[in-house]
């Protein structure tokens, strides 16, 4: 058995695997539940199926059609965004939405309805999925689109791979006239300044995101650097049009699990200080190829190994503007106080463009992503606290990055989960889904009703 882990390497579970090869094949017959698994870039347990079987989709990697005139690409679900870029970028097309790594599959991008630096302009990946085929364990095959099986379409986008296997999908790419991004970096001194700079930047920039110094305290809480940019115009500054696919990473790799002592408060502190002061406090403009602009961490193969064999926990929340300032301050202070440094923390504003996905995570407000080396109970408690703060602020936590949110929080974050549960394939499940929907004995349900205790929300989704 291959040992497969999620990107955060926590939790660790035992599961079987079954590789898929042909899109026209029937689903393999196995005992227990199955879950499609692409490149395993989800951080927590949403891409794991402890005790069950993972259907490995990386063999479903064939392209089906690409129309260079309209930018519509049709491919199998295991095709990576990297492959799509290599195909499309030299012909003047780009991903309509891309997460911070190109090493995810199209199926994974649909299942998690991923977002990127252009959420305020473009919304989520799901908005550009024109249609896809969904194969269920009963042998049925459905083409799903906004106007064809729209309920299955809505349930599957952001549906965490639970509604069945997506075999192929059709995605609308967007035109670019240059593979370079004109990028500007603007420092900000605290959270209030971030909110001002971010809103201001949204008007003129397609891409925005900010790195935040999560160790700064007091008045400096939330200081950081905001990156904003647009694809450069054609022939900008005499540069050639998109012909070549340059700079595929810098070929660095983390060759082994780093020992835990490499990553401590001092080293993270030093990194953050250097990062911030590299800027001299002034906005800077430069021309960057899209590869380092969108995928800086892809240049370091297996960067998750810097956290050692115990892995790390990622936390990403979104909170509405009304509570953003206080909630984010609270979250940043708690993680700074906890003595558990986050190596890389990212702030970004989400716009109000709706996603077709019922279970989609992004919603209007401010999102914060942090990662914490796994130091056991201490880390779990911190992440659980952050989940609670998010819930109280009326926000939501991203399932693709989660390992610790409570079923009660999940129920609040995703109000359509009960409707969604009706579309889950009976043969499909995941470690995440079972954690969010702990199976309770019928008699305990009865006793809770008798005692007048509130009906636990997680049971609503019990199947």
């Amino acid at each position: 058995m291959k040992s497969l882990e999620s990107w955060g390497r926590y939790p660790q579970v035992e599961q079987r695997t079954q590789a898929l090869t042909w899109r026209s094949d029937a689903l393999p017959q196995v005992s227990g539940s199955v879950l499609p698994h692409g490149l395993g870039r989800s951080y927590g347990d949403s891409c794991l199926n402890g005790g069950g079987t993972l259907l490995l989709t990386s063999g479903l990697d064939k392209l089906i059609a690409f129309d260079a005139a309209t930018g519509v690409v049709r491919c199998e679900a295991g095709v990576t965004l990297d492959t799509l870029l290599r195909l499309a970028a030299p012909r003047g097309w780009f991903l309509p939405v891309t997460p911070g790594t190109k090493y995810v599959t199209v199926g994974g991008a649909i299942a998690n309805d991923v977002h990127g630096k252009n959420h305020h302009r473009g919304g989520t990946f799901g908005r550009y999925v024109r249609r896809f085929e969904l194969v269920r364990s009963d042998g049925s095959r459905r083409v799903c689109a906004p106007d064809e099986n729209p309920d299955w379409y809505g349930a599957t986008i952001g549906g965490l791979g639970l509604t069945g296997l997506v075999t192929w999908a059709e995605v609308q790419l967007k035109p670019i006239s240059n593979p370079y991004v004109l990028q500007e970096t603007v420092p900000f001194g605290n959270l209030d300044e971030f909110l001002v700079v971010a809103r201001e930047s949204e008007a003129d920039h397609e891409f925005t995101m900010a790195w935040v110094d999560c160790l700064a305290r007091g008045k400096k809480v939330g200081r950081g650097l905001l990156y904003r940019g647009n694809f450069a115009p054609p022939q900008f500054d005499g540069l050639p049009l998109a012909k070549s696919h340059l700079s595929h990473g810098i070929g660095l790799a983390v060759p082994m699990d780093m020992p835990a002592f490499c990553l401590n408060r001092l080293s993270v502190s030093a990194f953050n200080w250097l990062y911030f002061h590299r800027q001299n406090g002034k906005p800077k403009q430069r021309l960057t190829h899209y590869d380092p602009f969108f995928y800086p961490l892809d240049a370091i193969y297996a960067w998750n190994r810097i956290y050692g064999s115990r892995g790390f926990l990622q936390f990403q929340c979104v909170v509405p503007y009304s509570t953003a300032r206080d909630a984010l301050k609270d979250i940043l202070e708690r993680s700074s106080r906890g003595g558990l440094p986050s190596f890389l923390s990212v702030l970004k504003t989400f716009g109000d463009l709706p996603s077709p996905g019922w279970m989609s995570f992004p919603r209007q407000g401010v999102t914060l992503a942090m990662d914490f080396a796994n130091r056991g109970e201490k880390t779990y408690r911190l992440v659980e606290e952050l989940d609670r703060v998010t819930r109280e602020a009326g926000g939501a936590v991203y399932p693709a990055k989660d390992a610790r949110m409570s079923p009660e929080s999940f129920a609040e974050y995703f109000p359509r989960r009960a409707e969604f549960a009706g579309y889950i394939d009976p043969a499909f499940s995941s470690s995440f889904w079972r954690r969010m929907n702990p199976v309770a004995m019928p008699f305990s349900l009865e006793s809770e009703r008798a005692s007048g205790a509130p009906h636990p929300k997680s049971l609503l989704a019990l199947r």
Partner: protein
């Protein structure tokens, strides 16, 4: 190789090779058994930049169609300058020991059908005095071992057949390239436990194409197998017969 006939195009190594050829803008004539899967490979190749892709679903164990198949490929692409012969089965050694039918099936697919196709193709290439015949054999054909000697025999026979063909066609400017992969991580070996010696189909495909470009004779891919097989071949038979290999 600009106009290439790929036999067994839905096999993992052939698929990976097809992608590399497509990216070079080659014209391809793909042959496989399963029409649906073959179509998936053809569309993939066309989308990845192949100048032209035609495909034909046939069972290559039906030798009667070979002549017409080759004719069809020549016509569809306006000539051929390359062939990648990749079809084959691993078979089940235990089953083959029990049943001649099972043994014959392995020999038929891996050796006889290949020899039949190569007979037709060699004559065409010899006549046009150009072309490259790339054939996937196996390290298993280098020495008979109890664990898979039926498969090994089929590949060993193929290797010898190719040696003769190479000798014959050398004066006609036709390259005959024997590719001997070691363990490859493909559906053919999905049931086997994997170790460090397993190579990806992509790696084998790159080795295959660079051997074809250089018009090499026999290559092991990955190269480490040349050393491994040198050692295995050098063990005296009196010792070898007592080993559990």
């Amino acid at each position: 190789m600009k106009k290439v006939l790929v036999l067994g195009a839905t096999s993992a190594i052939a698929q990976a090779t097809v992608r590399l050829l497509a990216a070079r803008g080659a014209s391809l004539y793909l042959v496989g058994r399963n029409a649906e899967n073959l179509d998936a490979v053809a569309k993939d190749a066309a989308t990845r930049g192949a100048a032209k892709v035609e495909s034909k679903a046939v069972d290559l164990n039906d030798f009667a169609v070979h002549e017409a198949l080759v004719d069809g490929a020549f016509q569809a692409l306006g000539g051929l300058d390359g062939v990648v012969l990749a079809h084959g089965v691993l078979g089940d050694q235990a089953e083959a020991q029990r049943s001649w039918t099972a043994t014959e099936a392995v020999l038929r697919t891996n050796f006889l059908s290949a020899a039949s196709l190569l007979t037709v193709l060699a004559n065409r290439f010899e006549a046009q005095k150009a072309g490259t015949l790339v054939v996937i054999s196996s390290v298993a054909g280098d020495r008979g071992r109890q664990s898979n000697y039926v498969y090994g025999t089929s590949k060993g026979a193929l290797t010898v057949f190719l040696q003769g063909l190479r000798n014959r066609l050398a004066k006609s400017n036709v390259a005959v390239v024997t590719v001997k992969p070691g363990f490859v991580d493909t559906p053919m070996t999905a049931h086997l436990p994997k170790n460090k010696l397993f190579a990806s189909p992509e790696k084998v495909a790159r080795g295959l194409l660079s051997a074809a470009d250089a018009r090499k004779n026999e290559v092991y891919v990955p190269g480490i197998w040349a050393l491994i097989m040198l050692i295995i071949k050098s063990i005296p038979e009196s010792v070898f017969k007592k080993l559990k290999l």
